[in-house]
Symmetry: C2
């Protein structure tokens, strides 16, 4: 059996209460006694049974998720994953609450962060907007001792405990690598469609994409900024396609896939050699299956949410996480390896079989 508090108490010649005091770094223990207990702890190789500890204190971890509102498909999918996590959270003694704030609004986000601090949650997960107010609010949370995990969109590393999201430079590079291979030999003209260059994720993807494409000497056209507006995206891409048949590829590095797909559908006579987009949603999945899009890079929102919760819990307990488990992959989906489930939704649970 694993050693328990009793074993340490016996070894150190003290009572359970004293052992508990040094375990939880509480005051009221003479330095010498503390030393004896600590010696016994590391000596015996004691490890606290968190389940029992949590049972005894009736602890529940209260976590807060802050997400952008708006009709972005990916964000709504993310919210759905959070809501699923809320359902099953109770069995792990965690209570998740969820608030949404207007997208791309640093002031609103900073305010939500400050409000969070008042509620003194055990941890906060936030889809960040990198702006000074937000950084300041994040640092206030840090000072208050509340672990902060950025989700999908990051802040500078010193402002948060952990980032649950993908390496966007690598994602852009990956898109570039695929684009090059898909276009094939020869020089091509490639269009880039973006939501807004204000968000760091998008800038990073572009940077990575340029680096990967640049090596091959392709021409990258000026970025089309659709400001997350489907109609605008459709107009921009439509105009591009009708003006010129010389487009070899299109890289959609952020929001705006609905417009892109509509534009592609609107010009059935011409198809670029390669169309690559981000985020597997109902729309991009359909486009992939229809052959309008050739590849979709994806970050698994469900994984990101579960990872954020695990990391927050680990931080709250002061224990380490399994790094490999928390690394969010850059998924590449072709029409050949689409997951079975509809859209990005989690599949319904099968009834567990025998045993």
């Amino acid at each position: 059996m694993r050693p328990t508090v009793h074993d340490i108490a016996a070894a150190a010649g003290v009572s359970l209460a004293t052992v508990d005091r040094v375990l939880n770094r509480r005051p009221g223990v003479k330095a010498a006694t503390r030393a004896r207990v600590e010696a016994a702890i590391s000596d015996i190789g004691y490890e606290r049974d968190m389940a029992a500890a949590n049972l005894a204190k009736g602890r529940v971890y209260s976590f807060l998720f802050i997400l952008p509102s708006g009709d972005n498909s990916f964000m709504r999918g993310l919210e759905a994953r959070v809501r699923e996590a809320m359902q099953r959270a109770a069995v792990d003694r965690v209570a998740i609450s969820l608030v949404t704030v207007p997208p791309f609004d640093p002031a609103a986000l900073a305010e939500a962060l400050d409000a969070a601090e008042q509620a003194r949650p055990a941890g906060v997960a936030v889809v960040a907007v990198d702006a000074p107010e937000v950084e300041a609010a994040a640092l206030r949370l840090k000072d208050a001792g509340v672990p902060l995990v950025t989700l999908v969109s990051d802040l500078p590393a010193h402002c948060r405990s952990h980032f649950a999201g993908i390496d966007n430079i690598a994602a852009g590079r990956t898109a570039g690598g695929l684009m090059r291979r898909f276009i094939g030999p020869g020089r091509g003209r490639v269009a880039v469609l973006a939501g807004s260059m204000r968000v760091i994720d998008h800038r990073e993807r572009l940077e990575g994409f340029r680096a990967a494409m640049g090596e091959a000497g392709h021409e990258i056209l000026p970025v089309l900024e659709a400001q997350d507006d489907p109609a605008e995206a459709e107009r921009l891409v439509g105009a591009l396609l009708s003006q010129s048949r010389e487009i070899s590829g299109i890289y959609s590095l952020g929001a705006g896939n609905r417009g892109l797909i509509a534009a592609l559908r609107g010009q059935p006579s011409f198809r670029p050699r390669a169309v690559i987009a981000h985020e597997l949603t109902a729309h991009t999945r359909l486009a992939l299956e229809a052959g309008l899009i050739d590849a979709v890079l994806n970050q698994d929102a469900g994984h990101e949410v579960r990872s954020a919760i695990r990391v927050l819990k680990a931080r709250a307990d002061g224990v380490a996480v399994i790094e490999a488990q928390e690394r969010i992959r850059i998924d590449i989906f072709l029409k050949d390896n689409l997951p079975f489930a509809e859209g990005e939704a989690e599949a319904p649970a099968r009834s567990p079989d025998a045993a």
Copy 2:
């Protein structure tokens, strides 16, 4: 607070012991009483606190992993992941043991399975070889009430509780889709390198690959079977490359990557348009970085091991799993999206930062 056994006892007008008896489906309760208790349970919406239950019974889940021996890089990586899991298993009240059996040896595997049954573990995870003896042994385990999870390589569904591995047909199809795009327009001749066609994974990959390539009318050469022997693989590929410069692509669908890479290195004057292999190991990673291989399809061994453990635990407890979390992805790695860590190893844990 969540309802507890006390609440049910009070509501049903019985004692804790009786509640416990019906909760654990133990005999010795009058049908009428049982019904009253069950009514109270579903009425109040009671859910058992597994942590407390496990604490009370001092339960430890004992799981057994059965892996093939031999020097296959992927399998040795898998074993490393299992050993890592063994280390951190204690904190979750699980004890993992590990045995290896000669690869591709149905008799040895069946024997190991039967031995496992004697040890009465709470669950078994096995890299299966699909053969009658093995199926029979698996069914014996099932009859004994021991949950069985197949790992990487599957058995027919009725023989096991769950499969922790990828959809190999989809993997082959994905390789085919990439190959087509990488080769570009026009008809190409494509070679396929396999370990042995005896294992179902490999047959399935080939099937998927053929389906995806066939659509495009490429010529697929007769499969080169290297029987997992690096020297043989090198010889076969080397001969092919020197005989003909007409090879547009090579798909290595199983073991034998070391030989493939050596052969490629041995013919620097000629490179097929596309080389696609399976499993990210130290060898394939290097070859990817060097541009000898264009894409590697991978299954995350760490994920598979963690998933197997979660599923086994859920089966032992009779609870459902989060399906999406247990779906093993077909990872596609280009040199652009290689994970940071060296080889397939898990990265060393970072010290947790503030909070």
